[in-house]
């Protein structure tokens, strides 16, 4: 893993190449502190990062959900019980009291980086 020093406290970790994430798809990345980030790529080539832990089942599976949209918002549906999460904010569309942590994603030179939350 390559750690890129950035201004302030923000650090970036390179996790994969852009072509490792097909459109409308997600992959899981493991950070050094053993936290897991689900990295998604939409049909519009936007990248988003969410905690990989599905808050309804506590299983590390959000990256394996189906990526799509709801009224224009990019979402992933948990593969366990199908609740949808807004990829931009981590908010659960089916239960407004729930949201998951988001991670900034940066693409540089064809490489996808996950930033600290």
């Amino acid at each position: 893993m390559t750690v890129l020093p950035m201004s302030g406290e923000q650090t970036w970790v390179a996790v994969c190449r852009v072509e490792d994430v097909p459109r409308a798809y997600g992959v899981a990345a493991l950070l050094e502190d053993r936290t897991q980030v689900a990295v998604f790529r939409t049909d519009d080539d936007e990248f988003y990062g969410l905690s990989n832990i599905d808050p309804f089942s506590n299983a590390a599976v959000l990256s394996r959900g189906i990526v799509g949209d709801s009224a224009g918002a990019p979402v992933v549906a948990s593969p366990v019980y199908k609740q949808r999460f807004d990829l931009r904010t981590g908010a659960c569309l089916d239960d407004e009291s729930v949201h998951v942590a988001t991670y900034p994603i940066r693409v540089a030179d064809g490489v996808v980086h996950v930033g600290s939350p």
């Binding site: 506590n58 239960d95 009291s97």
Partner: protein, 839 residues
């Protein structure tokens, strides 16, 4: 307060009474004791003739009629009440038991009427009323068949019950005679014109009809019977069935001094009370306001009225509709209102089409404005609209209402019916009750209307009317798949089939909006898979799949997957069993035998899956599609190879079917089973398609279900050979796959299919739509294109690359997954109670 209600008899009406009391008696003020003569709980006597289809008495069982789990109802079977002591309020049974009551309900039903013919008690003479009667008739048929080949039989009675008996005999492979005193068949229901056509149609079905003649004597003749008819005809038969109407069983009431009607029946008032205030009577044994009804619908009304009376509520018998609609040996017969034009000045309008085999008559008032009644023979399609119009002003010229199709659009719609018109005559539900449920209780589907009003829950003939009423009330029943597609699944299937669009992105760009979601993506992926667009993980398709299809395994609660190799028919060699054990040991998997006769291996991580498949595929296993909306298993019993009772090779057929339909993607999972005899050890009738062996071949049952809403499968065809069976299953499955909604099992699909089982049979057996060739071709393509999905991944490095836990650490297992040991096997350590519990 704990009072005792004793119910004498347990037929359909008694059961309805107990249900009605239990559902309204919220504080359980009544303890109910049911004392019954027959050894089995209430069953569908109206459907008795269908018992011949498969000799499965369980299928006639009425839901809930054993009151299992209801501590307030005690059901004592096989011990009839023989005496009532009104002073002591106590009954005595044949076995000598006594039971006190605070209230007594007589629901003893009818006995078959046997005319006083000399010889009527000879061996070989039967009546037609109970399951036991049919078992006895069956035994006699079998005995006669064993003796000399094709037995002969006669039915005394050409009314409704007589023709039912004739149908039962015909279904047993006989060509019965029917003897009727009146000048025509079904004299109570149809007029001379209708009776003439009915006779012709019934005669075409290999039934010999003798009308206008009595049965004068029955004589024993060298082990057979000779029936001498009044017109001089002599019938040599092996058995004779009396089915000439019924008489109320009122003996108990007579013996204890209750008032009885002039023509029999326990006399009751409109609240169902007899001359003793502690005793009520309902159903066919009751003469309500002097009149006895031999139909179930008035009986059900009485049950509801009696239940209300017992619970201190005001209710009175609303009168009965004796209209009838039935299908006898495939011939529609309907009669409603004043069918015989007995009203003063009544006019008749009739159409008789001898070529088409239909007869339709309306009886109208002298000014031709009010419908009084009618008779329909050969085609009773208009019955549902006409019967509710009885007593109401006609919405069109009488002739227009029964004019043959093509002579102008039928003028009547549901809008024309008055609010009081009865839509569901089985459960006495009016149009007004249904429209109120739609408008005020928010019923927005046929299923909701059924649940709310009970309409359509008995014979189901009014179900199409419910849909029309919903539409008439402005309820749009949206069939849109999701926010991205305005089309239904069936419409999308046709679009994909016709346009040969091969990707989701092209389909949504041309026919939908947005980017898709977890509803439409898997649904379209399934359609593409059914139509043969390569491996389900090929190219863009991989991003459409639910996680189970994506990893070709079943996601479990800790994020691991389970693996189920196919074991066709549940038949497996010792060597293969050993391989399964070795694989489970090597990868530390939990093993369990499934309900589908195979073995599930739990606890595999995504990176382990290809390595597990490698071992399994090398040993000759393939994917069992436990993860897919696809054919799961075809269970089987051991069949004629081993079983002393087996009639066909059920395992061989199950293996053949499972290999034929494996991998077929469908709207929901498909389950099947094959039983080698009527004992049905494979539970085939709880399956989407189930096969039961008989001496003559295979019986095919369709649209059954286990699970939360069990449904016994319906008989589609019987006694067919293997080739015919497979052809019809091919058509059935493809027709379902094309037309069902997303996640709609076959049972729910059939419930909503307009025309129901009859329509299904017309399409897939009779090929009425002319699509069977196309359906068979589609299945042939599926069979020839089949390839194992696991092997497809193992052979493709691009697909294999997806089976990693982490994109940046492919060899590292998911650190959140761990196991502990329970009963000597690994089970997941759960990651604590989920921190968010919102439902």
């Amino acid at each position: 307060m704990n009072r005792t209600l004793v119910v004498v008899g347990h037929g359909m009406v008694a059961h309805r009474l107990v249900e009605a009391v239990r559902s309204d008696d919220v504080d359980a003020t009544w303890r109910i004791v049911v004392l019954a003569e027959e050894a089995r709980p209430a069953y569908d006597r109206v459907g008795l003739t269908s018992y011949v289809d498969d000799w499965d008495a369980d299928r006639l069982a009425l839901p809930g009629s054993d009151y299992a789990g209801d501590g307030n109802v005690e059901l004592r079977l096989g011990d009839p009440v023989v005496a009532i002591d009104r002073a002591a309020r106590r009954v005595t049974t044949a076995a000598g038991h006594t039971q006190s009551y605070d209230a007594l309900v007589l629901a003893t039903g009818s006995r078959p009427f046997v005319p006083p013919v000399p010889g009527r008690d000879l061996p070989g003479c039967f009546v037609y009323r109970t399951i036991d009667d049919l078992d006895a008739i069956r035994d006699a048929v079998e005995r006669a068949r064993a003796g000399k080949g094709r037995p002969a039989a006669a039915v005394v009675g050409g009314g409704l019950l007589g023709l039912e008996a004739a149908k039962a005999l015909r279904d047993m492979g006989l060509s019965p005679h029917v003897v009727e005193m009146a000048p025509r068949l079904m004299p109570l229901q149809v007029d001379e014109g209708g009776g003439g056509l009915l006779r012709r149609l019934i005669t075409d079905l290999d039934v010999t009809v003798h009308t206008g003649t009595s049965t004068d004597a029955i004589e024993a003749d060298r082990g057979r019977l000779c029936a001498r008819l009044g017109n001089g005809t002599e019938l040599d038969v092996d058995l004779l069935v009396f089915s000439a109407g019924v008489r109320p069983r009122d003996d108990l009431a007579r013996d204890c001094g209750l008032d009885v009607g002039e023509r029999g029946g326990v006399l009751v008032d409109a609240t169902c009370r007899t001359s003793d205030e502690h005793i009520l009577a309902v159903g066919e044994c009751a003469a309500i306001e002097g009149r006895v009804y031999g139909l179930v619908a008035p009986g059900y009304s009485m049950a509801e009225v009696a239940a209300a009376t017992l619970l201190g509520k005001q209710a009175s018998f609303p009168g009965a509709d004796t209209s009838t609609k039935l299908k006898l040996m495939g011939v529609d017969v309907a009669s409603f209102g004043d069918a015989h034009a007995t009203t003063e000045g009544a006019l008749e309008v009739a159409f008789h089409d001898a070529v088409a085999g239909t007869y339709k008559k309306l009886v109208v008032s002298d000014d031709a404005r009010t419908l009084l009644g009618g008779v329909l023979v050969g085609d009773a399609g208009e019955y549902n609209l006409l019967r509710p119009l009885v007593g109401n002003e006609l919405p069109a010229e009488p002739a227009a209402l029964i004019a043959p199709a093509g002579a102008g659009e039928n003028a009547v719609g549901v809008e024309a019916l008055p609010e009081a018109a009865q839509i569901c005559s089985c459960n006495a539900v009016s149009k007004g009750a249904i429209t109120t449920a739609i408008a005020e209780q928010g019923c927005d589907s046929v299923a909701a209307v059924k649940a709310c009003t009970r309409a359509g829950t008995s014979c189901g003939s009014c179900v199409p009317m419910l849909g029309k009423l919903l539409a008439a009330c402005g309820v749009e029943q949206s069939t849109a798949l999701c926010e991205h597609f305005p089309q239904s699944r069936a419409e999308l299937f046709e679009i994909v089939r016709a346009t040969r669009i091969g990707t989701f992105s092209e389909l949504i760009a041309r026919h939908g909006t947005g980017r898709g979601c977890a509803v439409c993506k898997p649904a379209v992926a399934s359609i593409l898979a059914t139509l043969g667009h390569g491996h389900i993980l090929g190219g863009e398709q991989a991003t459409l799949q639910d996680t189970n299809d994506h990893f070709l395994a079943n996601l479990q609660r800790n994020g691991t997957y389970s693996v189920v190799p196919r074991v066709p028919g549940g038949e497996i060699t010792p060597d293969k069993l050993i391989v399964l054990g070795e694989v489970a040991k090597e990868f530390g998997l939990y093993t369990k035998i499934t309900g589908g006769q195979r073995i599930d291996l739990f606890g595999a991580t995504v990176d382990q899956l290809p390595r597990i498949w490698r071992r399994l595929v090398d040993a000759g296993f393939e994917s069992g599609h436990a993860y897919g909306k696809a054919l799961r298993t075809v269970k089987s019993c051991v069949g004629s190879t081993w079983c002393r009772y087996g009639q066909q090779d059920s395992v061989g057929l199950a293996v053949e079917l499972e290999l034929r339909y494996r991998g077929l993607r469908s709207p929901h999972k498909l389950k099947s089973a094959v039983s080698g005899c009527q004992r049905e050890c494979a539970e085939a009738r709880s399956k989407d398609f189930g096969i039961i062996a008989t001496e003559q071949g295979w019986n095919l049952y369709v649209c059954g279900n286990g699970g939360a809403v069990p449904r016994h499968a319906d008989l589609l065809v019987s006694g067919v050979d293997t080739e015919t069976l497979i052809r019809i299953i091919d058509r059935f499955l493809m027709f379902y796959v094309r037309t069902a909604d997303r996640l709609q099992r076959t049972a729910a699909w059939l419930e909503e299919l307009e025309g129901g089982l009859d329509h299904l049979r017309e399409v897939v057996v009779d090929d009425k739509l002319g699509i069977c060739g196309e359906l068979e071709q589609a299945m042939a393509e599926h069979v020839s294109n089949y390839a194992d999905e696991w092997k497809g991944v193992l052979e493709d490095p691009d697909k294999l690359a997806r089976f990693t836990s982490f994109v940046n650490a492919p060899g590292t297992p998911d650190p959140t997954i761990s196991f502990r040991t329970e009963r000597e096997q690994p089970v997941p350590v759960l990651l604590g109670v989920p921190e968010v519990v919102s439902r």
